[in-house]
Subunit: 93 residues, 2 copies
Amino acid sequence: MDADNSIYVGNKPFMNYVTGVVMQFTTKGAQEVIVKARGKFISRAVDIAEVSSKRFLEGQVEPKNIVINSEEFENKEGKRVRVSTIEIVLGKK
Amino acid sequence: MDADNSIYVGNKPFMNYVTGVVMQFTTKGAQEVIVKARGKFISRAVDIAEVSSKRFLEGQVEPKNIVINSEEFENKEGKRVRVSTIEIVLGKK
């Protein structure tokens, strides 16, 4: 799958991400779009997936697969830190 | 499935929920535990599922299914509000 079909959720305005998802399906003809987030942005990723599929692409797109995982890394103080991740695969019905 | 196997994530200390999940599997012998959350608590639910399955029950438990959804309701001002939900089904390997 093309990496361009992934949307990484961060601090930008909410509707930027929703528009990004909707445009992938409508103007770029994507069959699947993956909404990805880490840590506190996970709730936001779920909101974006829900608003995109239920309000803007109702009846056309649905969550096909959802994967959660975690990444461990060392922070600046040398302490091991774990952060959760989510990948929500939205696909055409 | 018994409703007792559901853990609703909210404001309580993080480890309360992790302990709740671990205890369901270890002392109550559950085959599945469902971690549920709404809105901003969704990120926390993912953290709880990850810490429970990767740190405390490593090799024994994994996410079996994840469902996202949304609920619409009218708030006090009569405005329609949408809130996202998640259900993470953890199961024995």
